[in-house]
Assembly symmetry: C2
Homo-oligomer: 510 residues x 2
């Protein structure tokens, strides 16, 4: 019996990861498993970044493999490690069995550590060492197709991956492996890591695919799964995939750090109203604290809607008006500002006072501040640095505004959790009287359409204009993207759910 | 006559870069130059990051080369561009002459875009196309040695680079190229880019080296130089290199953005006292505004020293006490904080009020806020996120505390510019009564020694302990580094002067 241990590993925490691997091995032996497969980077965690530059770390990886070897009596264990070979860092899959390394894959360096190419660490070794007299092919997911093209000697393939979820690729990916199995008439055991690491969400969903391309057995998405055989719940729509991924991303961010509690600002607007049920789902309502921070420019419905969003979920909240602090700050700055008119500086002061209050509560009680900015705002810099852009994790940071609405409707599909008024009202930062987002930005439907063409499809200014969008609007949006790069460098890290996430897939340096 | 146009280019601003190239070409023709060499990435700017993913951008690069070709009557122009070849992005040096591409280098992908491997963009093409019947070898700096090993057909080499300065490598680098010239008995024209791009400081210092390994002609460091023949000022010590690099980094950050004015907080401590003369050197004293932000915990000497540092340089300053704002913030948070004791939350409040005031002035007047944190603090997270970690550029962010002192003494070598008391006093954040940095951190001499071993030399915990450092102290420091990664992700970008700069050379993901 061949099994996959779809475990969640901690980045660079060899000790904890080894304990988990050891436990799975013990359990597998009890249940008479013959071959136990671990997803890519199970020992090291993923991503590991510059730990790979430490020779000591690499040595330690090897020592853990030596320890593990002792427990491979009558059990084959497949996992990967980085190690030094002729002073070069290489990356191989190992097949451990009966206290020996029975087989290993040729060196691979096809990994892309999300923004960091693995070329940063691994050298391509030229020698090709394929396992001999051995019935399994061994490959990392990124190189499987190439290996299948070259070799027809194996009928079964063990494939390791640590795939970072994005909603655009997930279905393609499932079909891709099934198609490969069918095309080359091979059985595939695809072990994929699960969990999260700040921005990255690893999807799990490991599979055993028949040589006819049928999924024989599947592991759960977004949760650990070991020797599992129960039926797996597969999300049915794009927005359900996104929902499940975000909940996983939040949960693992807290789990990995031994943290439990979150705080967030509730403005009555759509963004914070959507973050709240996600956090409640991930952490439980008792671990979430909402803070209402009304200013003189807050409308009455903002407070009503914010309270309703907390009450609908049974979440505790405080109301902390910022007017007094705002007046004191203006007073404090009066000797320098003089009689200059109210402008962006005063708007930002309010956003920063809110940020300061939320961070104060975070520091005092140990709650993690969750950020509620969306990708449309972050793209064009419509947010205040050190104000509404602060926090430990930007839950919606990779969702366009239209996706935030879709998510709201998905969450409300059975009953009103997010106040309908938060969904219906016209978006506003409420930092000056009667402000609307559309005073500063194009309407969100235009903004989102242009952003998608540019960020998701690499369309240039002229190509977008050719699609029929107003030239001035397009130029303005692309200029805003460029000119707000400095803000994105200091914004809370965003949970990545697409293949055009800022700071990972889209790197701008201006 | 062969000449180097050591120009500063703007990242991804093809239009401006082309104009500059065109102007140099025109001037060269007037002065009967035969061959004009541009540093690497002169057309595209460097770094360019994800612009390289836009096919439209790549096409535009090519169209500028076509325009430039028209002006190559009786003049050879050497520069590099990225372009598409069989749908793969490649990167070549071109030799343009008499309206034709007379020669080009084989495809190279040895570039490392500072943290981003160029493998992210460029595919290695397998065909090797060396220029024929042609007396110059063409290479990027990173591949020169390999090419020299392989080929002995050229006596002269044109070498392009866009080398990001670090004080540890600069002298090695100069000797390296001289040694190569001598060893292979070839003449080298090394054209290196100059200027800055946020964190990166490109050093300039282009050279013409004889086949005996002697520097025949040198271009200036840290400033543009075209057809220059005057004597070049070469810094004489590590700290002088660092000083010149930092001034260049500040100056170019402002120049590139069309900005002129800076604001910074003056605490009377060593860090801000060292940043001030650097900024004055880069921008002129009239473009710098100092802000003193005393709190109830500020000592009297802090204010005296801060005023003195401004007066010594003739810089304007304002004094804005933060006590009122601090009391109001505590009052505002009282309903949530209750009677909990004064702790880190209240310390951070003060730092954030200061950040808010400085950003308010930045927003109101358009001054860029300069950050004064040093590498020792940033490494261990001894700073307040959205407080003293905010700003557009962290001037000392890649200098250990001991280097800040060295720089202070260097700046004061002729007269007291930095108040001696700022240099002599015991470092303190002054956020609670009688606070010293050493209450929370090891003494800076121990901290800096451990940080250097770990960050500069990749020493692990046990290796550092073996060197004789206290085990608990070492463990604490390395744990602090790891646990403060989340702060570094949101800290102002740091001017890079070493080869262990955070977020560029040292990437941690926890």
């Amino acid at each position: 019996m061949t099994e996959i241990a779809q475990i969640h590993m901690l980045s660079a925490n060899l000790d904890e990861n080894y304990k988990k691997i050891r436990k799975c091995v013990k359990d597998a032996q009890k249940k008479s498993v013959k071959t136990l497969i671990f997803p890519a980077f199970s020992l090291t965690g993923y991503p590991i970044a510059d730990e790979l530059k430490s020779p000591e770390f690499i040595k330690q990886c090897w020592s853990y493999v030596e320890r593990l070897l002792k427990y491979t009596e009558n059990l084959a264990v497949v996992l990967d490690i980085p190690f030094l070979e002729k002073n070069q860092l290489v990356h191989r899959l190992l097949w451990l069995e009966n206290r020996k390394i029975k087989a290993f894959s040729d060196n691979s360096c096809g990994w892309n550590d999300m923004g960091l190419s693995f070329e940063r660490y691994f050298k391509t070794s030229k020698q090709f060492q394929s396992p001999k007299s051995f019935k399994f092919g061994l490959a990392f997911a990124s190189e499987l197709e190439k290996k299948l093209e070259k070799s027809s000697e194996f009928e079964k393939w063990i494939v390791l991956d640590a795939w970072s979820f994005d909603y655009k690729t997930i279905n393609f990916r499932i079909n891709y492996f099934c198609d490969l199995a069918k095309k080359y008439h091979v059985e595939i055991f695809l072990a994929n890591a699960v969990g999260g690491q700040v921005s990255l969400i690893l999807s799990g969903g490991s599979m055993h695919i028949s040589s006819e391309g049928k999924i024989l057995k599947q592991h759960s998405y977004f949760s650990e799964s070991f020797l599992s055989s129960k039926t797996v719940k597969v999300p049915k729509s794009e927005i359900e995939w996104i929902y499940e991924a975000l909940v996983c991303g939040i949960r693992e961010y807290f789990n990995d750090r031994g943290l439990k509690q979150a705080v967030l600002g509730l403005s009555g607007g759509i963004d914070s109203a959507v973050v709240l049920p996600l956090v409640v789902e991930a952490l439980g309502r008792k671990n979430v604290l909402g803070i209402l921070l009304p200013s003189p420019y807050s409308t009455k419905h903002s407070i009503v809607d914010a309270i309703k969003s907390a009450d609908n979920l049974g979440v505790d909240y405080h109301i902390i008006p910022i007017e007094q602090a705002f007046q004191t700050m203006r007073q404090t700055l009066l000797p320098v500002f003089g009689k200059r008119p109210f402008d962006l500086a005063e708007e930002n002061l309010q956003a920063r006072i809110r940020g300061m209050i939320l961070m104060g509560i975070s520091n005092k009680f140990g709650h993690v501040l969750l950020n509620t900015s969306n990708k449309s705002e972050i793209a064009v810099g419509y947010g205040t640095l050190y104000g509404d852009l602060c926090g430990g994790l930007a839950v919606l940071g990779d969702l366009y505004k239209f996706q935030v609405y879709e998510l709201a409707n998905f969450i409300n599909r059975k009953r009103e959790i997010i106040p309908q008024n938060s969904i219906n009202k016209i978006p506003s930062a409420e930092l000056r009287p009667n402000q609307k987002d559309s005073d500063s930005l194009p309407e969100y439907d235009v903004l989102d359409a242009v952003l998608q063409l540019h960020l998701d499809h690499n369309f240039s200014t002229s190509q977008i204009i050719e699609k029929g969008f107003d030239a001035e609007v397009v130029k303005k949006i692309l200029k805003l993207i460029r000119n707000s790069a400095y803000k994105r460098q200091q914004t809370a890290p965003q949970l990545r759910i697409s293949n055009s996430a800022f700071n990972i897939d889209r790197i701008t340096v201006f």
